[in-house]
Amino acid sequence: MKQLTHFLEGFGSAVQLLFQSARYVGTLPRQRARFIDQCYVIGYTTLPIVAILCFFMGSVLALQSGYSMENFGAKQFIGSLVGLSFARELGPVIVAILVAGRVGSAITAELASMKVYQEVDALVTMNIPPARILVLPRLAAVLVMMPVLAIIGNLIGWFGGAVVCKYVESIAIEPEAYFSALRRYMKFQDVGTGLMKAEIFGFVVVLICCSIGLNTRGGPREIGASVTKAVVVSLISILVLDYFVTKALM
């Protein structure tokens, strides 16, 4: 019962924070510096890890599918398999998980510290809503940066698959054939679906991390607990949402 109460309390707090932030959307142009700063942190600094992870995920996917599909002579369809998997599912989920692990944890740690060290209280005292200057720029930044990260992740993942297909002897498919199969069975709608999913996942992750960070109570030890909680809840939310969003977009 207590767990359920905590869950509902956290959920309600996140929804409340979302509405509070939405109320200050009009102030976003005046917070340009904060928005750019968050874009830089969420998008630009996350790109290397996204690139590395997506490249190797694409490679592994091509390697595994090549190994399996060789048994029934369907190697020429590896391109479409890797392409569709990455565009519709793996790309958005991997990027969202990386954002949760790298950016979400940092957001929670920062906001939890501000809360523990009463900086948030000082802002409230100065009649500066935390939702306006701490949450809104982050939510806006993640909405802008997630599709960019997702499309780059998709392309790098496809490229990783093409590299494996060309250089692994047991597969040995030329990039032309790989990308031809990818194009033949894919529509931009598949990529668009993935970008939309990445948008939803990123937004939810940042909202959860902000909410948990701002609701941290106690001393410095609670900061670590909040970070852990924020990452765990974000990952669970990503995977649960993935199912429902995928079903809704089919």
Binding site: I36, G43, A74, V148, L149, I151, I152, R183, F188
Partner: protein, 330 residues
């Protein structure tokens, strides 16, 4: 890092994302975002099978376009094809839906058509031909399998029997069992006969083993060949003769085929019959000669007189001979 640099990086990163999204869109939409190149043709089929938007259009195996969209048009399905610019398609080129793989990969295949035929223009309709798909082939195979099964069942029944009537093998077995003694005897005789033949005994053995007999046989055959050639020549001559006769040449031909000669022959025959009738009746000199013996008797009397005259001539000399002869005769 100052704020300007940070802003520039973020801006560049965002632009990179936009550019990549645009490239992806262009690539996956076959560049149809801003322009539509080439011209469209329509191919109508009873069933488009697994054909879908974006599938290739190939002419003689070379990609020349893609399926722009598929639609229902009345009682048939139509595929609207987008053909690359510069590709000319003859009006008698035929489109078929070709199966490229067993897992539902199809494309539209076009043949080259007749050289010099008029070229199809934008919006024209292609000739189409229905080809059996994998389902139809599998159905046919299933029917064939059923027929084979039925045929094999009949053969099995014939060979093994159906429980009531014995099969072919059972009949053979019984035949062999019932006649084993006769078969043994026959085989023994056959072995003895072949043994004799092998030793060169008997006509057949000599024929097989004696080369002299073989040579004679060959010589006989050669003579038969010569005789056949002569017979052939004879037949040819006979045919020539018959043809001559048929054409009315020669006596026989005239006799058989000339109507006037036939009539003459009839007249001659009739005359001969009249003459013989008259002779039989004793008419005329020849008839009397044959039927009346008075002439014979007078001639005999005359000859006797002449004989006597000649005898008297011998006795009285030549002068009296003339007188005697005149006396006898007159």
């Amino acid at each position: 890092m100052n704020t300007a640099q940070q802003t520039a990086r973020v801006g560049l990163f965002f632009l990179l994302g936009l550019a990549l999204t645009w490239v992806t869109w262009e690539t996956l939409s076959d560049g149809k975002l801003f322009k539509q190149t080439g011209y469209s043709l329509i191919a109508g089929f009873d069933n488009l099978k697994e054909l879908k938007q974006g599938d290739e259009v190939r002419m003689a195996g070379v990609k020349i376009g893609s399926v722009e969209r598929t639609r229902l048009a009345g009682r048939r399905a139509e595929a609207v094809l987008r053909i690359d610019p510069g590709i000319k398609i003859a009006s008698d080129a035929t489109a078929t839906i070709v199966m490229a793989g067993l897992i539902g990969t199809n494309y539209i295949g076009l043949d080259l058509g007749t050289p010099g035929a008029p070229v199809l223009s934008d919006g024209a309709e292609l000739r189409t031909k229905i080809t059996p798909d994998i389902n139809a082939i599998m159905t046919e195979l299933g029917n064939l399998g059923q027929k084979l099964e039925g045929a094999l069942g009949s053969i099995t029944t014939t060979v093994s029997g159906d429980g009531k009537n014995p099969g072919l093998f059972q009949k053979l077995d019984r035949l062999v069992s019932d006649n084993s003694t006769k078969i043994d005897t026959t085989m023994t005789n056959l072995a003895a006969a072949t043994d004799k033949i092998n030793k060169g005994e008997g006509t057949l053995g000599k024929l097989l083993n004696d080369s002299k007999l073989h040579d004679e046989l060959v010589a006989t055959v050669s003579e038969i060949k010569v005789a056949a050639i002569d017979a052939k020549s004879f037949v040819a001559d006979a045919q020539a003769l018959v043809s001559q006769v048929k054409s009315g040449k020669g006596t026989l031909g005239a006799l058989i085929f000339d109507e006037s000669a036939g009539n003459d022959l009839k007249i001659v025959t009739r005359n001969l019959r009249d003459i013989s009738n008259r002779i039989a009746k004793g008419e005329g000199t020849l008839g009397k000669l044959l039927t009346d013996d008075s002439l014979y008797l007078s001639a005999q009397s005359t000859l006797k007189k002449a004989d006597r005259a000649i005898d008297s001539l011998g006795d009285s000399g030549p002068i009296t001979a003339v007188g005697a002869a005149a006396n006898v005769l007159f």
